[in-house]
């Protein structure tokens, strides 16, 4: 990694932390609210531009498309979260979302920066990944994950604005349990079943009780106009993320078909992307149904966010995908039997692990 590239990445990381503080303090201070919001936004723009430069430079330095390991995908994710926030701030007054978007970007920078060094290196690609399809398939997926994250964060603000404080805290606890499981799975040797229990149990309990809170207790007066606006932001983010996820899944299928003759092999990672897709299809249809309150829809969006986390980072770190099954050896010979599943796992694990 060149010094300039490092400096740009660090600028982006520091900017995300600085804008987080600017937005966070702006929410707490009525006096400096307007000024601090502008500062937060300006710093975020600087971070976004720096990160764009860093990613482009990385591509030039490695002479390939800069999205082929987990570290690079985290950079893309942070870039997309920042970009999506800036995009929404042009049409909506989303200043209450700023600190959450910046915090998410900063968390992903931190997660990326303490990954094992091997994940930062620019490694040669396995045969299955030597294809232009990689450029077409992976970016929409990462950007869709970022949109779903932003949608989930906006859903928290929607609940908050609708004075559903307890639901916010419970759902947040569920999300944090999931994130803790991912972090433990990445940096420690904790037993997979414990991690899976923490992720699934924690998020189900958190979101489940948040849902129950909505049904059982009436909200105190909230800011309806703001709640409605954030409900719309959630919807818009999902309606941008959904086509991107669809494109990502379908182009993955086209690539798999071009590479080993099967567009769908029920590979665990593939299946997880389908689960996320189906959950957002359920969200879209729940909206059409008109019987679901905006607060319940927000909790569905938060569930989608948890599933996105599971698909993107949880699968490898929680030991879901049978990481030891890369290659099977034929009984009588040295032949590595590469069924589509094994090949796909190789491909997806190399890309996103």
């Amino acid at each position: 990694m060149s010094d300039v590239q490092l400096a740009l990445t660090n600028t982006a990381g520091i900017s995300s932390v600085a804008s987080f503080w600017a937005f966070a303090v702006s929410n707490a201070s009525a006096r400096f609210h307007g000024k601090l919001t502008k500062v937060g936004l300006a710093v975020l723009v600087i971070g976004f531009v720096a990160l764009t430069g860093s990613i482009v430079m990385r591509g030039f330095e490695s002479q390939r498309f800069p999205l082929s390991n987990l570290y690079e995908s985290l950079l893309w994710f942070a870039w997309a979260v920042m970009g999506a926030y800036l995009f929404f701030s042009r049409s909506y007054d989303v200043k209450h979302l700023g600190w959450l978007a910046s915090l998410t970007a900063a968390t992903f920078f931190l997660y990326g920066s303490i990954l094992p060094a091997s994940q930062h290196d620019i490694k040669p690609l396995v045969p299955a990944l030597v294809s232009y399809w990689r450029q077409i398939h992976v970016p929409p997926l990462i950007v869709s994950y970022a949109m779903f994250f932003l949608g989930g964060l906006a859903a928290f603000v929607q609940l908050w604005s609708a004075a559903r404080l307890k639901s916010v805290l419970l759902a947040m606890a569920g999300l944090l349990a999931g994130m803790a499981a991912v972090a433990l799975g990445t940096y420690t040797e904790t037993n997979s079943f414990v991690l899976q229990g923490l992720f699934v149990g924690g998020s189900l309990l958190g979101i489940g009780t948040a849902w129950w809170q909505l049904g059982s207790f009436k909200a105190t007066a909230g800011n309806k106009a703001r709640a409605d606006m954030y409900d719309e932001v959630v919807y818009r983010a999902i309606m941008i993320g959904f086509p991107l996820l669809t494109i990502g899944i379908i182009t993955g299928g086209l690539w798999a078909n071009a590479a080993w003759g099967s567009y769908w092999s029920w590979d665990p990672k593939e299946s997880m992307a389908l689960v996320t897709w189906l959950s957002y299809a359920a969200y879209i249809h729940l909206r059409i149904h008109h019987e679901c309150s905006a607060e319940k829809l927000s909790l569905v969006a938060i569930s989608g966010m948890v599933l996105t986390l599971l698909t993107y980072l949880g699968f490898n770190s929680l030991g879901f995908s049978g990481l030891h099954s890369y290659g099977r050896f034929k009984e009588s010979g040295a032949f590595i039997q590469a069924s589509p599943v094994v090949s796909y796992q190789n491909a997806s694990d190399t890309l996103l692990s």
Partner: protein
């Protein structure tokens, strides 16, 4: 709360739909099915599936007791379980019913021109406002019209009324997506009934036929009469020795041995012949050819580590000879092991083609025989499946386009000025629509000074 305009009444929707089918046309049922399918797929992603990863993997992951339970109750083969197939069947019926009853009819309503609404109808809209200007009605209307046009709205108008819309294509989204989903089901069904696939590891100069293909139980297809011969196969490495690419030169041969087509394939670059696609899916070293006193033997190789392969040749009950292979261009090391020796002992190193005498036997390392992993498939429904992919992608992209409809009524006042009433709907982007409308009002206020402060929102206006 979600706000929307429903343009087709329930009774209208039900017209022409068989009663039994309409019972399944519920969006509530869709949501339930989508959630159940998602949960089933999630379980399938968590539990290794027998069909993809093998039964051993299930036992390895969960231990023999729990693993056996998962196998017994079909969790380890969940995608073939009656429960999952039943859910897919129900979703299909639900989708057909819903599409026919609720989704497709909306396309017809799109073709109809927007009515030009009067002030009282506009006042009932979720987003609306009004103002009075000293300027004549036609001038104000013209200004609104040109501003809307410059923002991409399609406008139709009379002397003092106007209707405009933006992003009408977004309304086609459900229809296109659902047609795509139904086509996908059709494509997958055709493939399942007539297609086949398989994998075979073929040694260099070996021939592969399609006799061991896999296909569904209910099958109407035909297997090809021709076969494939592997004329050459090789591996290309990165500088550090990792595989970069695998290549195989394949000949399509008919039953008389006549070559019908010849092509070199590699990963991501398959051979296609008469609807069958053959993919380079993997590569390995299959066996080592060694001559003993001029007599050639092919010994199967086993992978012993990332780069080392070995072949074992029992000489008698106690003695085993081993050939250790590091790579295609490396010499082969020969070991022997008898019970008295704790470790195998190296006997010699053989360069390719150079004979060495070991006791009374002359040994020569002739060759390494690679094996190429060929994946093949015949997918007659692929064209429809791909077309379905295109429809689904287009449909969901269009679903992101928010449709906006807007109406204006400009009523001339006796004083010479006019009263403007403007309102509209945007189901997917109400806030931005409201903002845009407010901006439009501001511009009009700047252009034609308002006569008096008017109520800004519709409830007051009512």
């Amino acid at each position: 709360m979600v706000t929307a305009v429903s343009d087709t009444s329930k009774s209208e929707q039900l017209k022409g739909v068989p009663f039994r089918l309409s019972a399944f046309a519920s969006v509530k049922l869709t949501v339930l099915l989508l959630v159940l399918i998602a949960t089933t797929v999630l379980i399938g992603a968590w539990c290794p599936q027998e069909a993809q990863q093998g039964r051993d993997k299930v036992i390895e992951t969960f231990g023999s007791d729990f693993g056996a339970q998962l196998i017994k109750y079909g969790i380890a083969d969940i995608y073939h379980s009656p429960f999952f197939l039943g859910l897919i069947g129900l979703l299909t019926v639900n989708m057909v019913a819903c599409s026919v009853q609720r989704v497709f009819p909306k396309v017809r309503s799109l073709a109809q021109p927007m009515p030009l609404l009067k002030e009282d109808a506009i006042a009932k809209m979720t987003v609306c406002s009004s103002a009075q200007y000293a300027a004549p009605a036609n001038l104000v209307l013209q200004s609104v019209q040109s501003r809307l046009r410059s923002h991409g709205y399609v406008v139709s108008s009379t002397d003092n009324r106007l209707a405009a819309h933006w992003g009408k294509c977004g309304r086609l989204a459900p229809t296109i997506t659902h047609i795509g989903l139904l086509m996908l089901l059709l494509g997958v069904t055709i493939t399942s009934w007539t297609g086949f696939n398989g994998f075979q590891a073929v040694p260099l100069h070996g021939v592969m036929s399609f006799d061991q293909s896999e296909h569904s139980k209910l099958w109407l297809g035909q297997l090809p009469q021709w076969a494939l011969r592997v004329d050459a196969t090789r591996r290309e490495n990165y500088d550090n020795g990792d595989a970069k690419q695998w290549y195989s030169t394949l000949s399509v041969v008919d039953s008389h041995g006549k070559v019908l087509k010849k092509q070199e394939i590699s990963v991501n670059n398959p051979l296609s012949f008469q609807g069958v696609d053959i993919y380079q899916s993997s590569w390995g070293l299959g066996s080592i050819a060694v001559s003993f006193n001029g007599k050639r033997m092919e010994l199967p190789l086993r992978q012993m580590g990332p780069v080392i392969h070995a072949a074992f040749l029992p000489l008698d009950h106690n003695t085993i000879m081993m050939f250790s292979v590091h790579g295609q261009d490396e010499p082969v090391r020969v070991f022997a092991k008898i019970p008295e020796w704790p470790q195998p002992r190296i006997l010699t190193v053989l360069a390719k083609g150079q004979p060495t005498v070991l006791g009374s036997v002359q040994v020569r390392y002739d060759d390494l025989i690679p094996v190429t992993g060929l994946q093949y498939k015949c997918d007659p429904g692929l064209f429809i499946t791909y077309a379905a992919f295109a429809f689904i992608m287009l449909g969901v992209i269009l679903a992101a386009v928010p449709h906006r409809q807007l109406w204006v009524d400009v009523i001339p006042l006796r004083t010479g000025g006019c009263r403007l009433v403007i309102g509209g709907v945007s189901r997917k982007a109400k806030s931005t629509f409201e903002k845009n409308l407010a901006k439009l009002r501001q511009m009009l206020d700047r252009e034609f000074a308002p006569l008096q402060e008017e109520e800004a929102s519709c409830p007051m206006f009512n």
